[in-house]
Symmetry: C2
């Protein structure tokens, strides 16, 4: 835990944001475990209040897209700024994150939170947007049989967003209590141990481990699509020939559309607040991380307000 930090001094075009609330994500836990050599302040899921930078934003509650791109390179000009090779990423790559009193982000990264959306709910904008990236990459609809593997925070959001996209969703995991959040919304659930479903059009891997990957793979019909939605610390091994013979498509999926996520929250269509398990103040951050790592614990929030 870093203490007595200097206040960030936003460069031109950036905005100073006072953090109100932040969520701990599995990527944060993986970063601590060494998945990527990052040494700054962690945290990329947040709601804040703009302090200085852009007059029209001052005093507004905002959430922020995490990739800050250069705007000039060939990838940016192809309209893929989230993949800019020169980008910084809030709390992940060369940019101090949200587990702090203040952060700085480019003004264009910020989205104002509608008044009717609570600060708690808005903290889920970033992971909800990530879940909404899937229908942007893979064609899904009412005829789509979709399996979601993993009942962690991201799995529960992915299952809900695919359900809202009218897919026939089955969600599997190891925690009956977590899966219940989904069955209350009319989503079919199963314990992983009891599951032997086959013939899915799409399987979304949200566990970040080899076993979850294998379950997702085995559930697919020929020419089905396996979406990888998790951060993986380490390498994965797979039977390449079976991918070729069955003509499986594997899709890596990362950040998604904030606007769509805020619309879902505005219409109160996604149940995010029941994912909140515990809350801590920033000074209890180390303990909060320990709790976020514990089996069975869903979202842990850090409160700065």
């Amino acid at each position: 835990l870093l203490k007595n930090l200097d206040m960030p001094a936003p460069p031109p075009g950036e905005v100073l944001v006072k953090v109100l609330r932040a969520g701990i994500c599995n990527t944060d836990l993986e970063l601590v475990a060494g998945y990527y050599p990052y040494c700054g302040i962690l945290g990329h899921e947040f709601v804040g209040c703009v302090e200085t930078g852009v007059d029209s934003l001052i005093g507004r509650r905002v959430v922020g897209e995490i990739n800050a791109s250069c705007g000039k390179c060939s990838i940016c000009s192809m309209d893929h700024p989230g993949h800019c090779p020169h980008r910084t990423v809030l709390g992940i790559v060369n940019r101090n994150g949200a587990f702090a009193e203040y952060l700085s982000l480019p003004a264009e990264n910020l989205h104002v939170v509608p008044d009717v959306v609570s600060t708690d709910a808005a903290t889920f904008t970033e992971p909800l947007a990530a879940a909404l990236q899937i229908p942007k990459q893979v064609k899904v609809g009412s005829a789509t049989r979709a399996l979601v593997v993993g009942d962690g925070k991201l799995g529960l959001l992915v299952a809900q967003t695919l359900h809202l996209s009218r897919c026939q969703v089955v969600a599997i995991g190891r925690h009956a209590g977590k899966l219940e959040i989904l069955s209350h919304r009319g989503i079919e659930i199963s314990m992983s141990n009891d599951f032997s479903g086959k013939g899915f059009d799409v399987a979304v891997e949200c566990t970040g481990n080899q076993e979850g990957f294998a379950i997702a793979r085995q559930s697919l019909r020929p020419q089905g699509t396996l979406v990888m939605k998790s951060t993986y610390a380490g390498k994965l091994t797979f039977d390449a020939s079976s991918f070729v013979v069955d003509e499986i498509t594997l899709v890596g999926s990362r950040c998604g559309p904030f606007t769509s996520a805020l619309e879902l929250l505005h219409r109160n269509e996604a149940n995010v607040e029941s994912l909140i398990h515990e809350r801590y103040s920033l000074v209890d951050g180390i303990h909060a991380f320990e709790r976020a790592r514990a089996s069975g614990v869903l979202k842990v929030l850090l409160e700065m307000d």
Copy 2:
């Protein structure tokens, strides 16, 4: 080598074909190496002459699609007969293949070879169709920068078909003599050792080994597509997190459209005959296999006529 085999007795709906010529494919070599537990007669690239079965076909030169499906299951009714779980596959799964004097296939699997297409050229229909599966699965066009990794038989066909699809193709491999076949057709080539290209939209892995997979992966731009076109004996390991962060799509690709392949051969647009390195009679089959396995050797044909 199996000798003195009984003549196949085609069941109803199947046709007896006298084999004229057959090609040895890397999949045949992998099958001998144990990639899949198959014990029948090998061979799935062939041209034959129909002996009995369907009057309109008798005496005609034909090529044959290799997957014989049940026509009744849910996969068949979804119009994916090539992926029927009950299918037999010529020379690969529960169906004796083309390295023999005669074979049997369902009548609907056969395609008549146009008179202007030589028997040598028509022997390439199956692998050429496999190459043509790529533009059916991945959107490509004149703006597409495509890398083909591997200068084996399949790589040379893939590079040519992507070039005919107007892609900007770069083909890399280890054999200057093989790559020359492509440079003569206006395709950019490079030796694998000298290659450090980046930013490709599509990379097609045609080597069947981990090193080729790594080169294909590293060449891609974010949100690029890696097509796996080879048979792999064993497993592949990959950095799953980088697939997620860069949102890479991996596509397994197998059999393709025979009609399109025969049209290409009819229009003489693909150079296949320069891929023929050696020819043997069926009784020299073992030696032919040894030669097909040798480094630098492209297509080895077995001649039965």
